[in-house]
Symmetry: C2
Subunit: 708 residues, 2 copies
């Protein structure tokens, strides 16, 4: 046996004390006690109420200290000004888990925030795991543990089931519970985290990852507090074979205020969330409906083992529609073998036998067509997943039973296949299908969409997460302030980012000496801490013949001095002139949630006009870098679009991964890093950072402007 | 009184004959008769059955001729081999409308197609409007006219209601009926069009456009037969104030086979459908759920009069979510005035008062907050539309009645406002809200999305469709075959497409003479019917000084002759060298449904890598051309992105509109037209077609390759 999960005292305690438990079962603290009793909680239940001997028929105690035995868990619903006292009583009594309904903390301003910090500190010091404050509590129907006043349990306990749910908003979480119940999904464990003074969504995911009866985890999130904790929790769920489906709201309120660097302004926190969730293998749901439907698809007792999908339909139109949906969702309607198609036609002469298989209304006359069809598709054709469109047949007097019999027996004959129907059935018939392991969707498009989501979840669970590359320790500290081109490239080269050979010359003679070694055609760039916009100041010369470098040096310095007489000039950077390839922009920002985040975009219009960029949490390896590149709308530019040779994508991936490792190692030491452009040269010729800029927290405002 | 709609005998006849009417009410032809009687059809009903005196208690007739009075309508469900005979009997009797269930026509191959053409011809010759064959029929519940065997009426007649529905697939149409009924939408008139031998979806839309009791029209389409008829029908609906919501499937089966020209290969029929539906003001629904939800939002008795939306919520999370949805859907959550915000805070100190207005759970304690809130938003703040998130309050013992009272009375106080709730209610409560004119959505995202669709519909109804520009008649016919650059530009210039001054020189002397008039820097291009790829053959010289044109002429011709010794050379085209501006691609294809369709894309990577193109049915005016330009993802390039001056978008719009008028006039005379590129120069400098190619049906294969 492994050790119990650290959240066990919170979510599965053996004994519960309820502070301020009311005898009135309609009041908040009274309601929770009533729920406990209705749900059949088997542990010890201790109402704390100094004014009564009994509460709702249970013996009451004047305070926690008066409770005779051990108390694992405390429910605190007292006013905010009494919350600290209640927490301290819990510490004294050795309570390990607390749910605090009480409002009036961080959500009301500075005073409340201070009070919240106090109770957080008590929790941290004592090791109590605290859920809330300002939350609707939680329930674990597996043991009837119901420290919540959510109206969802108002009409009696909900049956326990395979879905776990963690939600930041209690009110919206209650809505999701209601939607799930109406959809026929049973939620076994539910937790609303409120202000997250201690326990966060990640903790709930982590607990559910270990809970043997939880098959999938649905989350509603407004903001993740700690990206690392969250990543660990979803990794745990993945290891334990449980899909995590998450809805994150707030994408429209783009955090422009925090967007200091160019990279950040392109990001918007939602784009980073989106990339991070993808990278972590979380299925992101866009709407509550999506969340509920995907959760439904993921809790049917099996998951599709590949993207091959068989579609059976009694309506040609529905077949076309499901083919559209499958293509959009990336599922493959592989056509049946020739002889299988002939077999279908031997049953139904006017069938469409390819896939979708349209058996027409003929099965009304001969339901054995269904049995034969299911055997053909799941047996001979070996499809891992099948969806059938049977509209109102599932509720028609004539077909309801024959259809159910055919479907249920096929589901039993092929227990490892994913079988869903698009059909309209009575609630009772719906339950019968679900008990047979077959999910029902009224909308055929929704059916395919949800199967696709379940397939993605299954794919993630079947492949271990990509290992994060090791991050070196004890890298030399970065210089402070604005680290411009020459120095920035030197540092990045040390981290494995490819750069060109280049020399900083401080006089014409040095320039000429350097030129001879660097190539026939050269680029000269002024190096000055006072000139961020080199080109505008005439500080760049392109395509200079090596023989003319000495003269060019003089002209360049003179030109810059004329335009910027007071600028301190450190010298001139001499590098080979390269051409050919595609210019990329790499950037790094420090995301408040996920830490260093690497951005990739194609140079020019792709970033500036189309905002075609993608993100990854650092560090990551080559495979993740390749996925990142593939997400760009303009990725075809790297494959050799418009008559150009294909680019060295491998070198780009390597530069990305190396940059991600470097920024993970330097976490906290910089505010932004731009490699702009990174020239990705034709295949086999590698890549090179042509310019770079690193800013540390000491950089002055305006230092983030990159030379064009 | 206007004349009755031509489909009246089909959809609202006074007398009905049913061929082969069965006494068995479960058989197909018997079922329809039963539906008629259950629905209380008040007209004359004549079962035709030579073997019985009575059918289902009605007097039967041995054949149609034996029926004593007039017969408006015939229902034909006899086998295919008897269908012609039945049609002929209808002609003899003066029947004006026929529904034909019978299968075995075009859907089974050549033989069936021939038979179908026969009955189509009979219908055309006699003026009978024929629905089907191979259809599930139709119903008009306003008069109990039910010539259908759809299982939807199996459990009794459906109540009549504000939605009209036209669907090509009867089986899928039945599914949509079932989904609509479950959603609480009543469909008054439903028609499935099957093989569309005569009556098509457009005819159904046209009838419903005139039907006074129809408030919105929902359609399911696999392929539109006649784009012009369809456009007229939706225009009629628009004129009569009725939104048309349409789902078109088959987007994944891109008609690559028919795609001959470059333009067509970029189009894919679905992109053309999408553009055409937008242009015609049809609300396209992507999925059956979308169709049903938008239809629900559009049949609440009112439509939102602008995009300003007020959001009231008792959950902060739901507020954020609805704000996300509103931004995505283009609705505006304008913030409340300062004093209004203060007022909200005076009721609920911790409210979010801006918009979304989060009144928190405080309204549980004081429901008058709802009355005050609704008055503030609909009265003082004058929002045309409001959505409230009240989760399970609508079904909670404590809040259900107070909430309903507050909502229903606000809906009554502000009868011109659009008011929707996101809430979970019992079916009875749901009906009560709907009777009060308030729609209920369980999912708050879906609520906002559907309100947005209703808003778009209302916007279209409030603005008359853009007038189509007049199309000239008697344009000179096009030359036949491949019409290359010089000639093509001449023709297009005649149609008002701007081109540069240019001269076709056939010797060096002519070239030199021309040069003097054209400018200082010139472009020379070889003109040869045998050289489609001018650049590859060395047939283009750029930036030639005017003084050197004579010599350049010789060099150019010599170079081309060396590379293509057998090419016939017509001369050299001399034109001014222009630079600056953005290159666009304009193309025209003949769409099988919509006729000439104009494509617009930005040159270079936008078309080639990003496939960033948009379409319009020809002809169209300037405003539509501007909308078209605005749809390009890269439209910002024309506004002066990346330090370039803004381009002459007006000139581009004019060129587009002129091209659309030209191709509408030349409909049928060409197979494709490409203007590639059209250089759109900086503001005030106009645009110019730099190259062009027109192909007529006589062009040889391979002629469509455009010179790079």
């Amino acid at each position: 046996m492994t050790a119990p999960h650290p959240l066990t005292p919170l979510l599965a305690p053996s004994s519960v004390a309820i502070f301020g438990a009311s005898n009135d079962p309609t009041r908040i603290s009274g309601r929770s006690l009533r729920y406990f009793r209705e749900a059949g909680y088997q542990g010890a239940l201790y109402p704390i109420n100094p004014t009564r001997d009994t509460v709702q028929g249970l013996r009451a105690y004047p305070d926690l200290a008066a409770v005779p035995g051990r108390v694992d868990f405390g429910l605190i619903a007292v006013p905010a000004n009494l919350a600290v006292e209640a927490m301290e009583a819990c510490v004294q009594k050795g309570v390990r888990g607390v749910v605090m309904f009480t409002a009036g903390f961080a959500e009301i301003g500075a005073e409340g925030r201070a009070l919240q910090e106090k109770i957080t500190q008590i929790a941290r010091d004592s090791g109590i795991r605290l859920c809330g404050p300002n939350c609707l509590g939680l329930f674990n129907m597996r043991i009837g543990h119901t420290p919540t006043f959510s109206s969802f349990l108002e009409e009696g306990p909900t049956p326990s089931g395979p879905l776990g749910m963690v939600t930041q908003s209690g009110a919206f979480g209650t809505h999701l519970l209601a939607l799930s119940a109406r959809r026929g999904i049973q939620v076994g464990v539910w937790m609303s985290t409120g202000n997250e003074a201690d326990v966060a969504v990640a903790d709930g995911i982590s607990f559910l990852a270990d809970d043997p009866d939880t098959k999938a985890i649905a989350c509603y999130v407004e903001a993740i507090q700690d990206g690392k904790l969250f990543a660990e929790a979803v990794a745990r769920a993945r290891t334990n074979g449980k899909p995590v489906i998450l809805m994150k709201v707030g994408g429209s309120t783009i955090g422009a205020a925090a967007a200091a660097s160019h990279t950040a302004s392109l990001a918007g926190s939602d784009a980073v969330y989106d990339a991070a969730l993808r990278q972590l293998g979380v299925e992101r749901a866009k709407t509550p409906e999506d969340l509920v439907e995907i959760a439904y698809a993921c809790t049917r007792g099996r998951l599709p083992s590949s993207r091959r999908l068989a579609v059976v339909t009694m309506s040609g139109g529905a077949g076309v529609l499901m083919a559209d949906a499958a293509e959009e969702e990336g599922l493959e309607l592989t056509p049946l073998a020739e002889d299988s198609q002939k077999e279908v036609l031997s049953w139904v002469p006017f069938a469409a036998p390819r896939n979708p298989v349209d058996v027409t209304a003929q099965a009304l006359n001969d339901p054995t067509i269904l049995d034969k069809g299911f055997d053909l598709l799941l047996g001979k054709e070996n499809f891992p997943a099948m969806v059938g469109f049977f509209t109102t047949w599932a509720s028609s007097p004539q077909m309801a039973e024959p259809l159910f019999k055919a479907v249920a027996s096929a589901a039993a004959r092929y227990p490892d296949r994913y079988f869903a129907l698009s059909a309209i059935a009575s609630p009772e018939m719906q339950r019968r299908y679900e008990e047979a392991g077959v999910g029902l969707f009224e909308d055929p498009w929704r059916a395919v969409q949800s199967i696709a989501a379940a397939t993605r979840c299954a794919e993630r669970l079947a492949t271990p997460p990509l290992p994060n590359p090791p991050v070196p320790e004890n890298l030399p500290p970065l210089p402070r302030g604005r680290i411009a081109e020459h120095e920035a490239k030197r540092i990045l080269a040390g981290a494995g980012i490819p750069v060109l050979d280049e020399v900083l010359a401080t006089n014409a003679g040095e320039a000429q000496d350097a030129a001879a070694k660097l190539g026939e055609r050269l680029v000269l760039k002024i190096v000055s801490p006072d000139i961020p916009h080199k080109t505008e100041m005439g500080g760049v010369m392109l395509n200079v013949p090596a023989t003319e470098v000495s003269a060019a040096y003089g002209r360049l310095v003179a030109r810059v001095k004329e335009r910027a007489p007071r600028a301190k000039i450190d010298g001139v950077l001499i590098s080979p002139m390269v051409s050919g390839g595609v210019e990329m922009i790499l950037g790094v920002q420090n995301d408040a949630v996920f830490g260093p985040v690497v951005m990739l975009g194609l140079g020019g219009i792709f970033v500036e006009v189309l905002r075609d960029v993608t993100f990854r949490i650092a560090p990551f390896g080559l495979e993740e870098a390749h996925r990142m590149i593939g997400e760009l709308r303009g990725a075809a530019m790297l494959q050799g679009a418009r008559g150009q040779p294909p680019c060295d994508v491998e070198a780009l991936a390597e530069a990305l991964s190396k940059l991600s490792i470097f920024v993970a190692a330097q976490r906290g030491q910089f505010t932004s890093i731009d490699v702009n452009p990174l020239l990705v040269r034709p295949n086999g010729q590698g890549a090179a950072a042509l310019d770079a800029l690193i800013l540390t927290p000491e950089a002055a405002p305006g230092d983030d402007e990159v030379a064009p």
